[in-house]
């Protein structure tokens, strides 16, 4: 046997040996069921390790103080790990390497589904139902828990905040200036967007404005609503359908292609990220974008901080109504906490979950840390400069608990926008095959919208590829 062959044999043998020795975690792959649902033992001084993407301070120092504030209020010894970027990768690396956290923040229902299948999540049904705080419908409306149920009907997460919806946000001051009304139909919307493009709504004497900008296919939901089309999957008679890939979507894509051709739509809509889209809106370059309801208030507030006398006025708008009267708005996936199956201190985690939904927890999650983000004196609460920069968002800009009232007035326009969300917005159906289907749908939809291919051909191609890959029935 040559030296090379000996070396190859040794490597293979070593690999097999290492494979055989590979540690298999003894934990069952099905979601863990704790023996005791409610926190029974004393948790004082118990450690609590949290991995969060949104909840926490805005700087490393602020984060340390935030963790200390949780410790002070709960009596737990809290460590808060909040990565500056690449949160999903950090979560995955932590879980696959066996790192132990008591709580992990998740913002994606598809992830909950994947974590359920991978044996990561703990069943919290008994805990939620027996918890005085969490089982109170005034704290979290009973129906909302359905969002956090696994395929087996059990609850695997606890909400970290109230998640709103995305909606068309329009420059109300431009509408007023051009004597236009909020659009109800596709034709009215076209007229308005064209006016935003051609009638110099910012008054700088230059044709430098666009009617509409988007940063992803989900952003056009408010307009696709006029054809009764919902994004992602819709189950019809037990069959998987994707409305954006049906013939009903053809005239809609043609409508967008017309906007692009006439220069009404921002031509960078394919390469835009949300930050670019927001900047266009804030710098008077575009009259309508689609974004979160909470951002209606933030847009107005940011412009007010820049110039107290600004004419800028953003307003949330309801989606266009379909012929049968349906209005479709897109509710965002909830932000929630999970207790991993390997959590070393699940009782401490449960104590935190209850605290997080009480007034103290909500004030911490919204305003931040006392004496850092806000101060309390004889005049009541007031924000510090650090607190103002944080925009009353330390992971909980809005919450479910109806017994806790906001300490500051809502930002301008946000209450009206949220009222629309609550009335019309519904969750999208995210099946495990959606990531593969999304690639096909977005690819052809964007080409049709950009006018790179006829809408009819684009939809035909979508259907062909989705069926071939067994992504629709």
């Amino acid at each position: 046997m040559s030296k090379k062959n000996v070396a190859v044999s040794l490597i293979l043998a070593g690999t097999v040996l290492l494979s055989a020795c590979g540690s298999n975690n003894d934990t069952s792959s099905s979601p863990a069921t704790p023996e005791s649902a409610a926190p029974t033992e004393s948790t004082a001084g118990m450690k609590l390790e949290i991995l969060s993407g949104n909840v926490g301070g805005k700087t490393p120092e602020g984060n340390t103080k935030f963790a200390q504030a949780i410790s002070d209020k709960t009596g737990l010894d809290v460590t808060l790990d909040k990565p500056a970027s690449d949160y999903d990768q950090k979560v995955l690396t932590a879980l696959s390497s066996g790192a132990k956290y008591d709580l992990i923040e998740v913002s994606d229902l598809a992830k909950l589904d994947a974590f359920f299948n991978q044996g990561v999540v703990t069943d919290l049904t008994d805990f939620v139902q027996s918890s005085k705080v969490l089982s109170d419908p005034a704290v979290i409306p009973t129906g909302e828990w359905d969002q956090l149920k696994g395929p087996d009907g059990k609850i695997y997460g606890v909400f970290s905040k109230f998640q709103g919806a995305t909606m068309p946000i329009v420059r109300k001051d431009w509408l007023n200036k051009l004597n236009l009304q909020e659009p109800k139909t596709l034709d009215e919307l076209y007229t308005i967007l064209k006016a935003f493009k051609e009638e110099d709504p910012d008054g700088n004497g230059q044709a430098d404005t666009y009617g509409l900008s988007t940063s992803g296919l989900y952003d056009i939901q408010g307009i696709m609503s006029s054809a009764g089309l919902k994004y992602r999957y819709v189950m019809e008679d037990g069959k998987r359908t994707i409305p954006y890939a049906t013939d009903a979507a053809i005239p809609m894509y043609e409508w967008f292609a017309k906007l692009v051709k006439e220069g009404i739509m921002d031509p960078n809509f394919i390469t835009n990220d949300t930050a670019k889209m927001r900047n266009l809106f804030l710098t008077d370059r575009v009259g309508m974008v689609t974004y979160w309801d909470a951002w209606v208030g933030m847009f107005n507030n940011l412009k007010k901080q820049e110039d107290a006398n600004t004419a800028f006025q953003a307003a949330g708008m309801v989606s266009l109504e379909a012929a049968d009267g349906t209005i479709i708005m897109r509710r965002g996936d909830p932000d929630f906490w999970i207790i991993p199956a390997n959590a070393p201190h699940p009782e401490a985690a449960k104590k935190f979950l209850e605290f997080w939904n009480t007034e103290d927890g909500i004030i911490l999650g919204s305003l931040g840390v006392q004496d850092l983000d806000y101060i309390v004196d004889s005049n009541g609460y007031s924000l510090t400069e650090t607190g103002k920069e944080a925009n009353m968002d330390h992971g909980v800009p809005y919450w479910y608990n109806s017994t806790v009232k906001p300490l500051f007035p809502a930002l301008p326009g946000v209450e009206e926008a949220m009222a629309l969300s609550k009335q019309y917005a519904t969750l999208e159906l995210s099946l495990s095959t959606w990531p593969d289907a999304e690639k096909i749908v977005t690819n052809y939809a964007l080409k049709a919208m950009a006018g790179q291919m006829p809408a009819k051909d684009a939809v035909e191609q979508m259907q062909k590829e989705l069926k071939a890959a067994n992504l629709i029935d």
Binding site: G14, T15, L18, S19, G22, N24, N25, T27, S28, S29, S30, D88, Q89, L92, L95, S96, K111, A114, F115, N117, Q118, G119, V120, L217, D266, P267, N268, I270, T271, P340, A341, N342, P435, D436, K439, T442, N443, L446, K447, A450, Q452, A469
Partner: protein, 291 residues
């Protein structure tokens, strides 16, 4: 044994490096290989399933699309990323003014220092259909309609190849210039005595003497073909994804986005295998061992 004892201090000095590579290169590699044969779950049992993950990957049309994209874009970068800096190095070598040569090298090298996040952002901005410099020039000079370079499939791969070549041109150029600087001046002197023209000096002296440097650069660039990731991740968008998504993006999507660790590990081992194969072919073709 006596030699080992004699050089024992050097062996001790090698330990940190060996430990580093064992921990951060070979252990993850072996662990990844193990994962590729498992029904890998983040928690719980991870049973061995033979070649199922490899089978899944091989039957996924997206994998073959990604492989073709990798070969197209990687091949383009390999060819043009070799020729362009070579021409540049030969041209700069002809420049007599030392200050100009040094300044040109510095300017050309700067893009190599910048991350793809910066370079990608610059390209997206430059190629923007409404405010990008390229379109403004095209409209001004040729009076044509703006082209949405970053959203049209016809341009997508060319832009990826062009931007990658541009970014690393200065770095490879400096390697070539270092090789040229090492050529004995007596060879040029002899060529001049034989009345060789500048072009003949390049053809008969510079290029043959630069052969070893060229082999090293070609091999190093070949090793990188299947590892392209940052650039595509930053510059891709849904409209061009089917033409630019490469194998590493496929692996990322399977592993991180879809949390299918087993198939992702299998796909990454195909990357290792393809790299080994391609490198062996290039070594053979260039007779690298004769360097």
């Amino acid at each position: 044994m006596r030699m080992i004892k004699k050089n024992s201090i050097f062996y001790v000095m090698m330990f940190p490096v060996i430990i580093y590579f064992a921990l951060f290169a070979y252990y993850p590699l072996v662990k990844g290989l193990q994962t590729s044969f498992q029904d890998y779950k983040l928690m719980g049992e991870r049973p061995y399933i033979g070649f199922d993950n490899y089978n899944q990957v091989l039957h996924d049309p997206s994998f073959w699309d990604a492989l073709w994209n990798t070969l197209y874009i990687g091949g383009g970068i390999l060819i043009f990323g070799f020729i362009a800096p070579l021409i540049l190095a030969l041209s700069l070598n002809e420049v007599m003014k030392s200050w100009f040569k040094k300044t040109a090298q510095l300017v050309l090298y700067v893009p190599h220092l910048l991350s793809w996040v910066v370079i990608g952002g610059i390209f997206i901005f430059l190629l923007s259909p409404d405010s990008g410099l390229v379109n403004l020039l095209l409209i001004k000079i040729f009076g044509i309609q703006p082209i949405n370079f970053m959203a049209e499939e016809t341009w997508a791969r060319m832009i990826m190849i062009g931007s990658a070549v541009w970014k690393d041109m200065g770095y490879n150029c400096i390697l070539f210039l270092a090789g040229i600087a090492g050529i004995s001046p007596t060879l040029y002197e002899a060529a001049r005595m034989d009345e060789a023209t500048r072009w003949q000096q390049v053809h008969y002296v510079t290029l043959p003497q630069l052969m070893n440097t060229m082999k090293v650069i070609l091999l190093l660039n070949t090793l990188g073909i299947f590892r392209i990731f940052d650039q595509i991740f930053v510059m891709r968008n849904p409209a061009i994804a089917s033409k630019v998504d490469v194998l590493m993006v496929y692996t990322f999507q399977k592993g991180i986005m879809e949390i299918r660790i087993g198939p992702a590990a299998a796909a990454s081992f195909f990357v290792v295998l393809f790299t080994l194969l391609l490198t062996s072919v290039v070594r053979k073709m260039t007779r690298f061992d004769e360097v």
